[in-house]
């Protein structure tokens, strides 16, 4: 059974104890994303400083272990990183999930999510927070 590969210790741990969970103050950029087919939700907030480094990031959400752990792991992976590196992490993680494109950076703990690839209907869960992050960064860097 590949279930052990899917629900690795570290995923369950992040699901039960999500990192960077909560809200920043209302003035901060915010994205709300939802998977309409299952109702999983993510609210994401981010602070980019003048050097384009992710100074702070927080999420709130409801949903399955995969979507919530992935969001939690994501916040850890990008916090303190400069924008260009964050972009590489997003791309690399997307590649990990879809099997397309290249993995150009060390993904560290995020690799625990590799097992999701074998469950195509759950890939959307794993990507939920990342989709929110992408759109948030697009908005922030445009303005």
């Amino acid at each position: 059974m590949s279930l052990d590969a899917l629900y690795q210790e570290i995923i369950l741990e992040h699901y039960k104890n999500p990192r960077n969970f909560g809200k920043l103050d209302e003035s901060r950029a915010k994205a709300h994303y939802e998977n309409p087919s299952c109702g999983d939700q993510i609210d994401l907030q981010i602070v980019l400083n003048d050097d384009m480094v992710v100074e702070d990031i927080r999420f709130q959400g409801r949903g399955c272990a995969i979507s919530q752990a992935s969001a939690s792991l994501m916040t850890e992976a990008v916090k303190g990183k400069p924008l260009d590196e964050v972009q590489k992490i997003i791309e690399s993680f997307t590649s990990l999930m879809t099997g397309e494109g290249e993995i150009t950076v060390e993904l560290g703990d995020l690799e625990a999510l590799e097992g999701v690839k074998k469950f195509p209907v759950r890939v959307k869960c794993a990507m939920l927070g990342w989709t929110a992050l992408k759109s948030l960064l697009e908005r922030e860097t445009k303005s």
Binding site: M1, D4, C38, R62, G63
Partner: protein, 407 residues
């Protein structure tokens, strides 16, 4: 427990492995499986007498027309409709309800009128009325659901004041609750309202008699009762159907067409525009024959027994909570397990060959009422056997263990 396991052999799909385990199909409230008798009827139609119906003067067309109209008669008898021309073939329950909303309700409801629904309705019995309300300022009211998952009928009389239509599900697809539709219909009629019953979950699982219920409209889907996908039914009293304007315009539903106006045909044709879902209606006729042979009383008894057993065994799992504890209920069982999200439950069960559903079950308002985003749902049909419950319970324990909980 009544043993209907001999019918399993008629369902080829059940005889397969999923992820190396024998398939256990517990998603019957979403759609039911098809016996060989139905598959074969559809197959035979295409191999032997596929043809357009009604206007044909040749042998194939005559045979197809006869089979199509025969299916209508079978369906009428199955729900004890007084006249077969009162049976309108649609795509599914959803289209049946929308047909009433687009025709009867748009003609007869006026600003200020109210429609009474319930908090346990499927989206298919909510959204058509939302769409209607975007056109007409009608009011929607809701019969509340009690914590046990039953309709709270205490204030029904007051709720009915000013109501022109009551539209209510016969059996909840989430809670399993079988609603007292006869009582509701009687009260509604006394208040001068018409009654539509959403029978999507009832017709497959229990004997239904529209004359005993005394309702005005009754809607259901073929695919949930061993019939093909792509066919549903709207039954309504002939005099109501005749008063309704047509829904879709096109071939077959007209009497005479001029460039600038048309006269409409009599029922049922008036509501079946264009080439109908011929093979599907004929297949539904075969499903009705099949279910009648199994016996709807037997099916109801089996499901009440297997449902009760499943609930009992599920309750033995610590941290498992069941939604809906109505006395009168079918075998659609929604639950959650503390600490394991329903989607994760579904994935973990699927790895063990068990198909259940997880989500809002197209009943988001009811989810909000119970303050959950989604539930897991195991729903049984007559071909399910008690052994499958044990495997389900074991698999749920595995889920808990995987998530680090003791079981």
């Amino acid at each position: 427990m009544i043993d209907l396991s001999r019918y399993r052999k008629d369902f080829p799909i059940l005889n397969q492995t999923v992820k190396g385990r024998p398939l256990i199909y517990l998603d019957n409230a979403a759609t039911a499986q098809k016996p060989l008798q139905v598959i074969g009827t559809v197959d035979q139609y295409y191999r032997e007498y596929n043809s357009n119906v009604h206007r044909g003067l040749h042998t194939l067309s005559e045979r197809a027309t006869r089979a199509y109209e025969k299916a209508r008669e079978k369906v009428a008898r199955f729900i004890h409709a007084p006249r077969s021309e009162e049976v309108i073939f649609t795509r599914n329950t959803t289209e049946s309800i929308n047909l009433v909303a687009y025709t009867w309700a748009r003609k007869f409801l006026k600003a200020g009128d109210a429609i009474l629904l319930t908090e346990m309705e499927h989206h298919s019995n909510l959204v058509p009325w939302h769409l209607l309300r975007e056109e007409k300022s009608i009011e929607l009211r809701f019969i509340p659901v009690t914590p046990r998952g039953e309709l709270d009928l205490q204030h029904l009389k007051q709720l009915l004041d000013g109501v022109r239509l009551v539209s209510v599900t016969h059996m909840s697809n989430v809670l399993g609750t079988i609603n007292p539709v006869e009582v509701i219909t009687e009260e509604a009629h006394a208040a001068g309202a018409k009654v539509l019953i959403d029978g999507a979950q009832a017709v497959p699982h229990m004997p239904v008699n529209v004359q005993d219920i005394d309702c005005d409209f009754y809607a259901f889907s073929g695919h949930k009762m061993c019939g093909p996908t792509g066919v549903g039914v709207l039954w309504a009293r002939a005099e109501i159907l005749r008063d309704m304007p047509p829904f879709l315009g096109g071939g077959e539903m007209i009497h005479e067409v001029h460039l600038n106006h048309s006269d409409y045909a009599d029922i049922p044709n008036k509501f079946e525009a264009g080439t109908p879902n011929i093979a599907q209606a004929i297949g539904l006729g075969a499903a009705v024959d099949y279910l009648s042979r199994v016996g709807m009383e037997n099916i109801l008894q089996h499901e009440q027994e297997i449902g009760a057993l499943a609930i009992e065994k599920l309750k033995s799992i610590k941290g498992l909570r069941i939604f809906g504890e109505s006395e009168k209920r079918g075998a659609a069982i929604s639950f959650e397990i503390e600490g394991v999200h329903p989607h994760d439950i579904a994935t973990i069960l699927d790895e063990q060959g068990i198909a259940i559903r997880a989500g809002h079950h197209c009943a988001q308002p009811l989810m909000r009422k119970f303050n959950v985003q989604s539930t897991a749902r195991a729903s049984f049909y007559f071909y399910n056997v008690p052994e499958e419950i044990d495997i389900l319970v074991d698999a749920l324990k595995t889920a808990k263990r995987l998530f680090g909980y003791v079981t």
